[in-house]
Structures are given as C-alpha cells and as structure tokens.
C-alpha cells in the first residue's frame, strides 16, 4: 500500500512541494449531440457540469491556500464509440482517484465497475436513475444529483401543501420519462394524491420554430389535454422535448408542474436565498452564463471532496472517502440546510427547489413532513426501503 501511494505520488503530473499537498479531480463527460434549446431565450451550453466543477475547485482553493492544500482539475471526454473503462484505466494510471461523473447510467456503470475503479471514488452528477441507488448501487459511487424519487416526492409534498390532489400525468417517450412517471405514481400514493388521468406525448418534437409552429401546437395540445378535471398537470419530459409547450395551451386552465412549468430541481438560476446570490454571481463571472443543475451537482461534488480533504486534513484518498461518508461530513450547499451523504445508498440528501420560470416558488421538504432523523430523508428512498447492498 505504502509503495503504491509513493508510486502514485511519483506519477503526479506536477511536482508538489513537500509542504503543499495536491488533490486532483477528474471531470469525465461523454461526447453528446448538440441540443437545440427549446426557447430562443436559452443558449446552447457547451461546458455544462465542467464549469460547475471549475467553480468548486476555485472555492476549494480559497480554503486550501490557507492550509496548504492544492486542488487541480482535469477533464476527459469519452468519445461516442469510446469505452468508459479505458478512460478510467488512463486516469488510474495518472494517479487520479476522484472522478466527477457527468455520464449517463450505462456509461457510469461501465466506468465504476471497471477493474481500476475499485480504489477510486465516482460522484454522479448527471443521472437520476433510482436503480443506481438501489439494486445497482456501488460502494465507490456517490450521487450529488437527486434521484427521480426525490424530485417526485418534493413535488408531491408541495402539491399536497397546496391541496392540489388530483393530478393529470403526461409522460414523454424517453425511457427516463417512464421511470419518472413511475416515481410520480409512487409519490402520489405515498403522499395521498390521486392520478385521475394519464396520457403519453406522442407528437414529434421540434415543431415550434416553423412559421406555423404555434398553430399546430394550439390544436394538438388541447386535444391531448382534454381529460377529466384535475388540479394540476404533472409532466415527465426530462429531455425537454415538449413540456415547455404545455403552459398556456392546455384544454383546462390548470398549472403545469414537474420537469417544466413549476420545475422540481436541485438547482435553478432563480435561487437567491441562503447566500445563493453569491454562488450564482461567482458562477456567472466564471462561466459567462447561468448555473444549471448539472453545474450545481458538479460544484457540490468537487466541494464535497474539498470539504472532506480540508476537514480530515488529509490528501490520502481513503481518508477523504471515509470522511465523505462519515456523520461529521456537511456541505454548505446554499439551500438553507447542511447537505450530507446517505450511508445506505450514497445519495446526497438535500432540499429540492420548486422553481418558477422567473422566481423561486417553494422548497421541499415542506413544513409538517417529519422524520425521526433528518427531514431531508422524507424525500427519496429511506433506509428501510433501500434495496442497496454495498
């Protein structure tokens, strides 16, 4: 063990002074097709996640400079036909032990289960799959991005606080949309709501930019939403293919909530409470754009590693990893409460924002949802329900 650490130190890219200790974190992402934003007000984002990790590194460095710890960031892109395990093998050879994984579920599984991944820590900042926190969980994976179940529970608590009990569920065609719809059904049952109608969105995306775009939508959406009366339309459209077309076009004058409309999310540019203004301002200065949810998850991942290194006063990856999972760990995530990792599945417990298009509407957990431990654990899979076995 001692020998391999020495070897790792020798393989470090930059020489480190005896006094100063360096911790290197890799952001690993996948080559993806460019996504055309639905709204002309949105711009295409090319450094999603990476920019958040950069801000996290800058924040870590401020404490680090006072206690002689240095944090560096490298980024790697897995090509479309690439093998995640190969990327991990190269990182391991460079002596890198911490990976911020901006990967979809299959790529994350492949990366984290590769041979060299055993002594590494992966923090998932992209995929909300509940399976990765349950039957497919791994001891070397933590999650700063919330699971679908957490998002659905957060929405259900808010809708119940509003007494909007009758839901009309509209689900997109992607596999993730179906899983999110499952999470909404579970949340409805758990918190006492009723799904009175369900529809699938089957139209092709991308009509809106044509000259007749609004005309088509104005006839399609009332037809789709002509269902029994409900209090709220709950939408599951993770890829943002159609959800933004719904508000203002539904057959009945009902609010839209879920992935669009009232959005449940770990982060939104509209958040400004609990010092969020400062985080948003720092991000905008660094990235020249607004902070998205993957940016936030990547920031939280890098800051978590930094916080654990600073608090454990160590650059030993094992010491940092064990501190991250210890009850002493707490991250200041600008959402009003300390955030930490659930020991049973590695998920970061955190408040979930209910964000309007221009302002914050609410934050879950809602008042009155109690828990014997942390009220944050009223969102998502609790210890007793967890199917995760490390």
């Amino acid at each position: 063990m001692r020998f391999s650490l020495v070897l790792l130190a020798m393989l470090m890219p930059a020489p480190v002074s005896a006094e100063e200790r360096a911790i290197t974190i890799a952001v690993v992402t996948q080559e993806r097709d460019p996504v055309q934003p639905v709204s002309p007000l949105d711009r295409e984002v090319k450094d999603q996640g990476l920019a958040g990790a950069r801000l996290g590194t800058a924040d870590n460095a401020t404490t680090g400079r006072f206690i002689r710890q240095r944090f560096t960031l490298v980024d790697r892109v897995i090509p479309k036909d690439g093998n995640p395990a190969e990327t991990i093998r190269v990182l391991a050879a460079e002596g890198i032990r911490f990976v911020v994984a901006d990967l979809d579920a299959p790529a994350l599984r492949a990366a984290a289960s590769s041979e060299q991944a055993r002594g590494m820590l992966f923090i998932n900042v992209q995929t909300p799959d509940d399976a990765l926190r349950n039957e497919a969980c791994r001891a070397n994976v933590l999650h700063t991005i919330p699971s679908r179940t957490m998002l659905a529970d957060a929405l259900a608590q808010y809708l119940m606080a509003k007494r909007w009990r009758r839901w009309f569920l509209v689900t997109g065609s992607q596999p993730g949309d179906k899983l999110l719809a499952d999470a909404y059904r579970r949340a409805a049952k758990r918190f006492g709501a009723e799904i009175v109608a369900e529809k699938e969105w089957t139209f092709k995306p991308g009509h809106a930019r044509t000259d007749t775009g609004h005309v088509t939508l104005q006839s399609e959406i009332p037809a789709l939403t002509q269902v029994v009366d409900h209090d709220v339309l709950v939408v599951a459209d993770e890829a943002n293919e159609f959800g933004d077309f719904l508000p203002g076009r539904t057959a009945r004058p009902r609010p839209v909530a879920g992935t669009q409309g009232l959005v449940t999310t770990a982060w939104s540019p509209v958040s400004e409470q609990w010092g969020a203004t400062q985080l948003q301002a720092r991000f905008e200065k660094l990235a020249g754009r607004r902070m998205g949810v993957v940016d936030y998850a990547a920031w939280a991942a890098v800051r978590s590693i930094g916080e654990a290194a600073i608090r454990s006063r160590s650059d030993d990856p094992f010491a940092i990893m064990s501190y991250l999972r210890s009850p002493d760990f707490v991250l200041a995530g600008f959402k009003g409460q300390g955030q930490s990792f659930r020991p049973w599945d590695g998920q970061m417990r955190q408040p979930i924002l209910i964000a309007g298009p221009r302002l914050l509407v609410s934050v879950s957990p809602q008042a009155g949802y109690l828990h014997r431990g942390s009220e944050l654990d009223t969102l998502g899979i609790d210890r007793e329900e967890s199917r995760c076995k490390f």
Partner: protein, 319 residues
C-alpha cells in the same frame, strides 16, 4: 382587587422603566424599525437603502450606521431627526461591520468581494482592503482595539486581522458556514458560530488555540435546523447567548464552563440578537415571523413579541 391591580400596575411600571431604544434592520422592507424599549412598542419606521442588514451605533451614539448591501454603501441615520442624513462608502455588498474602539474606523465585510474594507469615517474613504476568504460575513473587534476578526462563509475560516498594521495575523479553520464572530469583553476570547455545523467555537485571542466547541440540542427539532448564528456575550463575561436560526430558539450559555443552561423559544428563524445596555434583556430579530422577541433575562422568560418590518435581520440597542 383594586389594590392588587394598582400594585400590579406599579410593578409593571417600575419594571419597564428603562429608556433604551432598539433599532432593527428589515432586509426585505428597506427600512429600520424603531422600538421604544420602555413601552416595548414600535414607534417609528425609517426608510433606508436597499437590503439593510448590518447595523451599528456611532461612537457618540448620535448616529446609526446601516449596511445597505444592494446599494453598496453604508447609510447614516441621524437619530435625533429620525431620518437618513447621508451615506458612507463601504466597498461592494457590505453585510456585517464593526466600529473600532477608536471611534473612527469601520471594518466592513464585503460579501461579494472576499474583502474586509477599512473605512475612515471622518475622511469618508476606504483606506485599505484586507483579502480574506470567500463570502466574508462575521465581524468582531477586541475591546482593547488590537484585533479585528472576520469569518468567511464558504472558506469556513476565522481570519484575525491586526488592527494596527491591517495585516492578516492568522487564519483558523472553523465549523461550516461561520456566521458571526465576537470578541469577549476582556479581549481574551473569540467566539465563532457555525450555521450549518450548528456549533459555537471559542478560541484564545493570543494563541488562536481552541478552548471549547459548544453544541446544541433541542428536543423535537432535527439537527439540520439547529443552526448557530447571532452571538451576544455579556459585559461581565458570565453569559453568552446564541441565536439558533430555524430552530426558533436562543440558547443561554455559562461563558465560564461553556455549558448550555437553557433555551428560549422565540420567533421564527432568529438571526441576530442584541443585549440591552444593562444586560437584563435580550432582543432577537426573527426573520421568518417578521417580529422581535424580548427576553427578560432575570425572570428567564420571553415577555413580548413586537411586529416590525419584513425579514428583520440585525438589531442594535441604544441607551
């Protein structure tokens, strides 16, 4: 019966015969609420700049300084006239600040800029800036004038500044999201609250060695909601009071043994707190219930709740 009522009136009158005035900064209202400490009633509301938070008295107690973060300045209120008289430069986004015992300099935390600005009041200019950690917030000064202390929220550090040379003397890692730092009346201890760790740490001023870490427990309140924010240390060094934020409690601590003696149930999200000059009452700014609780420390009871502006944040008591 008649006699009893008369007696009661007499006792109450005698009991409330203090003449202090409480000034409360209302973060969302852009006002300062004025509370008559004898009647325990709201008597005036003074409009100030945008997002008022840090609030302090001038050395001669004739003026009130209010940090108005969104206007990037410190407003000056003439207390006799009861209105805004002008403003002072502060650097960007001032939050908390302290008046040095020399009566001439304000040390201001610039939340967005990672700086502590040193303002010369008579000259009305920033004389120097001290670089600290990210999101500087808490500001304290030792009564002997030697040290100014600051906390940075994201860096989680206590920064000790030599008030003479204006250089950093030390940086000490403290609990997560440190909010407030106060130096004891004898200039020997620094007390620092950690919002998200929910603790208060006490350090020796000279050596910066930790003397104690004080934790809090409130039955029925989850630990995430027990957050330590405002600190008030008594002049005689016997007690410390700590606002516990969304736990809606203020803790009373024996400042010699560092033991928590009791907690008081006050308004919602209690943020900053202030002692009366005679040390017999504690006033609390309750951000979420938009009121001020008054704790009578002799009878150990919350005796009054006074509605103020929206989101009261800081407060100061003038004799």
């Amino acid at each position: 019966m008649q006699v009893l009522i008369l007696a009661a009136v007499f006792i109450v009158t005698a009991h409330v015969a203090w003449a202090e005035t409480v000034y409360v900064s209302n973060e969302q209202d852009n006002t300062v609420s004025v509370i008559d400490g004898a009647a325990l009633k709201l008597v005036d509301t003074i409009p100030v700049g945008r997002r008022p938070r840090g609030i302090r008295l001038s050395a001669d107690r004739q003026k009130l300084y209010v940090a108005v973060g969104d206007d990037n300045r410190i407003d000056v209120v003439d207390l006799k006239a009861g209105k805004l008289e002008g403003s002072l430069p502060s650097g960007e986004d001032p939050e908390l600040f302290v008046l040095h015992p020399d009566g001439r300099r304000l040390f201001v935390a610039n939340e967005n800029d990672n700086l502590v600005s040193v303002l010369d009041i008579p000259e009305r200019r920033i004389v120097t800036e001290v670089e600290v950690g990210v999101e500087p917030e808490g500001m304290g000064v030792s009564p002997d004038g030697r040290f100014v202390v600051n906390t940075s929220e994201t860096t989680s550090m206590l920064h000790v500044i030599d008030a003479g040379t204006l250089e950093l003397v030390d940086n000490v890692l403290v609990g997560t999201r440190p909010r407030v730092a106060q130096v004891s009346a004898d200039s020997r201890q620094i007390w620092v609250s950690s919002e998200l760790r929910g603790t208060v740490e006490v350090f020796d001023v000279e050596t910066r060695e930790p003397l104690a870490t004080i934790g809090f427990e409130v039955p029925g309140v989850p630990h995430e909601l027990i957050q330590a924010v405002g600190i008030q240390l008594t002049q005689d060094g016997s007690r410390a009071y700590v606002a516990l934020g969304p736990a809606n409690r203020v803790a009373e601590i024996d400042a010699k043994t560092f033991k928590v003696l009791r907690t008081y149930l006050v308004g919602q999200r209690v943020w900053h707190i202030a002692l009366s000059p005679d040390g017999k009452r504690l006033y609390t700014a309750n951000g979420n219930s938009s009121d001020v609780s008054v704790i009578d420390l002799e009878s150990q009871a919350v005796v009054k709740t006074i509605g103020v502006g929206r989101s009261p944040w800081g407060l100061v008591v003038a004799p």
